[in-house]
């Protein structure tokens, strides 16, 4: 059987080739089952009401019920082989309550029984009461009006799950072939597709039905020079998006040409894999960077991660207050700095906003996981820290009465808590292209794509790598560098920002796997920016021999 026949067969509905690693509490299903509509909203409402009534009957002063159906498809290939195709479905009900002033949570999988949901609610109340002996102050929840029966859906032009698996496998194997033909020794490719069908109901009187889609095409190309023992990799320049399969349909404006092609609202995997293979080969011969101070020009495909780590996490109020101290850490951006109204988080060029409504972003939803309507707000204005990200049980600590709507749980089986909203760097106000920005740089490095990343537990000292490093000399790109990483601390770095390109260059980056909490949960979040310049940043050489 030739490859085309394999993939045609796959298109009928393959799942779980080889031994899959299945997400917790999910079950493998056929591809067709990903298209089944799931429970009728009236059934969900009955189940939710059973939970809400049971919780309040047992003494809960607040309760919410989340009924979640989480659908995933992963298509994984390596060179000319399909490594794995996994379709999973996870369905269940999570109930969160406040009783004796304390949170309690319990969850149950795969049920459509009102009695079982009611028992789960009672269990959550029992947990809250058992743990309340350790509660110092009762939970103070910001008031929230009920929205009645409402719904929200990601704008989907082409549903990923309606596309035959054959078509996806063909695309991935074609990209792999392109990489191999252009100098790669190895290539791994993964296409992640996610659909979260979430129903939320609370004692506030909300019944919210949401249908969230996300996609991430992602590869790693490896080039090996056995003689020297060197290896070089280049990851895809795609961004995970709050979109569906339409992200893989590229129109001319989606490509930004330059030293390499970068992508905006559409992504061309074949073109990027071809470039990646050539660039991985070039990296093997690139000049090893000289450590020292360099001006950095950072592409949105790179800087989103610096934003995520140094601004996104630092301004989560739960961290600022100490609730994440045991794992994720606290934050240098303490309340006194915010209260001072003059803390220079960055230079005057630096404006950050949070936005849970940005179309195409990973965090784009209508309501958060505690029934709050999503919105946009400022975090840093003209370089000054002006606000945090907070949820219903925290906003009173900021003297506010309304949550910002950034509560999220990664499953029906996990409790919702404060997670990062899309945090983005606003484009510069003056017209400025990337080429114009580079023209002014005497000794600099233009970094594209994300690499290794690490930041301390108060989000201060950090180190970032990247995918592509181009040396800038007297306003010109003169060649490629390798072994590059830069170190700085958050405040110094953002205060060294001297220019940000205008909105024509604004693009989203992001991650599917933002981790936080105990037990650990993941969160999908986007970060937008235009290319930005930072002067005099400390660059180190990461080359080693063992």
């Amino acid at each position: 059987m030739n490859r085309r026949d394999f993939t045609q067969t796959l298109g009928v509905g393959a799942a779980g080739l080889f031994l899959p690693k299945i997400p917790a509490l999910a079950r493998t299903v056929t591809a067709e089952e990903l298209l089944e509509p799931g429970l009728d909203v009236a059934v969900k409402k009955r189940l939710a009401d059973a939970g809400l009534h049971a919780a309040t009957a047992k003494g809960a002063t607040y309760a919410d019920v989340r009924i979640g159906r989480y659908l995933n498809q992963y298509v994984m290939t390596r060179e000319d082989k399909v490594q794995n195709i996994i379709n999973t479905e996870s369905f269940g009900v999570g109930v969160r309550v406040i009783a004796n002033g304390c949170w309690g949570f319990a969850a149950i999988g795969d049920t459509q029984s009102e009695e079982e949901v009611a028992r789960t609610a009672e269990k959550a109340v029992a947990f809250a009461k058992a743990h309340s002996r350790l509660m110092k102050k009762p939970v103070q929840l910001a008031p929230q009006k009920g929205f009645g029966e409402v719904s929200w859906k990601t704008k989907v032009e082409k549903n990923s799950f309606e596309v035959p698996v054959k078509e996806k496998v063909d695309l991935l194997l074609s990209a792999n072939a392109a990489a191999m033909q252009n100098g790669a020794n190895f290539v791994n490719n993964v296409l992640f597709m996610i659909n979260e069908q979430k129903y939320f109901a609370s004692t506030d009187g909300s019944y919210i039905d949401q249908d969230v889609h996300r996609i991430w095409p992602n590869f790693t190309v490896t080039a090996v020079d056995k003689a020297s023992g060197l290896i070089a990799t280049r990851d895809s320049l795609s961004a995970p998006m709050g979109r569906s399969y339409d992200y893989l349909q590229t129109a001319p404006p989606d490509r930004l040409t330059g030293v390499t092609t970068r992508y905006n609202q559409g992504y061309d995997m074949l073109e990027d894999a071809t470039a990646a293979a050539k660039q991985a080969r070039m990296k093997l011969k690139a000049k090893s960077v000289e450590a020292g101070k360099w001006d950095l020009v950072l592409d949105p495909s790179h800087i989103y991660l610096t934003i995520h780590e140094s601004v996104g996490h630092a301004t989560e109020l739960d961290r600022v207050l100490g609730y994440e101290a045991n794992l994720a850490g606290t934050s240098f951006a303490t309340i006194d700095k915010w209260k001072s109204k003059n803390f220079n988080y960055g230079s005057k060029e630096v404006n950050f906003f949070a936005d849970k409504t940005q179309p195409g972003s990973l965090g784009d939803v209508g309501w958060d996981d505690e029934g709050v309507k999503t919105k946009k707000w400022d975090i840093i204005k003209d370089g000054i820290l002006v606000n945090y990200q907070a949820i219903r049980d925290q906003v009173h600590m900021l003297g506010e009465t309304e949550s910002q709507g950034c509560c999220y749980a990664d499953s029906w089986s996990t409790v919702q808590f404060q997670r990062m909203a899309n945090i983005s760097l606003a484009p510069g106000k003056e017209r400025l292209t990337v080429d114009e920005m580079i023209k002014d740089v005497k000794k600099g490095i233009y970094i594209i794509g994300d690499g290794s990343y690490s930041i301390d537990q108060q989000r201060y000292n950090f180190q970032f790598g990247g995918q592509l490093f181009y040396e800038i000399k007297d306003g010109q790109i003169v060649g490629m560098l390798r072994d590059v990483a830069y170190q700085s601390n958050t405040q110094e770095f953002w205060n060294s920002c001297v220019k940000v390109c205008d909105e024509r260059d604004y693009r989203l980056g992001g991650t599917f796997f933002d981790g936080k909490g105990q037990p650990a949960q993941i969160n999908s979040v986007s970060h937008g920016s235009s290319t930005a310049r930072f002067n005099g940043v400390n660059v180190l050489n990461t080359g080693r021999k063992i």
């Binding site: 394999f6 067969t9 031994l19 949570f105 609730y323 690490s454 990461t542 080693r544």
Partner: protein, 454 residues
Amino acid sequence: MAIISQAEAKKILDKVLSFSKADEMSVSLSGGRTSNIRYALNSVSSGGEADNMSLLITAGIGKRMGSATINQFDDKAIERTVRRAEEIARLAPENSEYMPMVGPQNYLETPMYSENTARMDSEYRAQVAFDSVDACEQKNLSAAGFMQDTTGFSAIANSKGLFGYNKATSVDFSVTVRTADATGSGYVTRDFNDISKLKTRSVTGIAMQKALASTNARALEPGKYTVILEPTAMSTLLQSMMSGMDTRLADEGRSFLSKKGGGTRLGEKLLDERVTIYSDPMNLEAPSEPFASEGRNRTGSFLGGGGVGDGRPQEKLTWFEKGVVKNMSYSRFWADQKGVKATPPPTGFIMAGGDQSLADLIKSTDKGILVTRLWYVRMVDPKTLLQTGLTRDGTFYIENGQIKFPIKNFRFNESAVIVLNNVEALGAPIRVGGNLIPPVKARDFTFTSLSDAV
């Protein structure tokens, strides 16, 4: 609670196999309960429990494979899932790396289960957290901690007569203690199979002591220093090294075990001769899974329905002996290609140490830095195992055999291979994350910048 006996598990697995029409079929069944309590600012912040049991069925037809899972156990549901796995196998492409399933194996009965842990309830859990919080409150310190316990089992079988069963419990506890003015922070973590070994009040005392001693930290210049990496810190560096023991990756030139010009570094002396690392599922202090595990680890959840590997038994095996690469792991396909035994990767590891205590290591140090914990450790270069990260929650300067003063945290850029080449002394191993790891004193550890974070 979703934990069943060996006999009950075998009955379910035999039933699954009786429905099979495939050339080959393997089944894994796992289940259990995972519970937790979390606290911060000396107050409980969340807690809960979940339990589940799940069956994963894999059908092999020719060189095609298909899998399906289910968490219902009536005959109809099981048969429907068997048919689904077979249908998926028929639709799948042939796998050129397909390996026939293995026959019956001898599995060790590892000492991973404790009835004390299995019996734990939410009142006990609340008391464990209270003991930690109360100790801190009495000293005007702030505690943020987490405890998770699991009780579960896994069982495997296939149509070639293989059967294995294992039940296990685990408890993981950690706490970060901070001073009221937020200028000092200390950390401790412990994990056991048996909850009765966990004494949170006394263990929290270690983190309290570090928090109080770490206030008013001074800045030292970044550079190369002799370090004493406590087991919690050393564990982080070792994890990456031990998860990179795969031969195929090395043969492909992509690993720290790749030889320049091709091949692997098996048999080469790569580390200091005092370094011996082995795995032993029967170790009483840190036992591990009897069969190669893919679906979970000892400290993870039993709830996933993930597979439990391909049935290869785990046994005592030395990976590094006196610094020499003694064994590497192979997938069954790669072992077949190379004509060698298909050694699975370890599910736990033990690094041999000495008899010296941490205090002894400090006493024997002229100038050096004591590191409690490493944080946000990320690979910078997999070929050299160069990693970056930071110290955290208790970093101290040592001079003339004594801790002189707390120092600000450092960022490091270093490779575990280099650290284990520069060994000065090893202490007595303790259990961290299911592994046994000694404190390691090593020279020339590279710190590249300072962090003001507390």
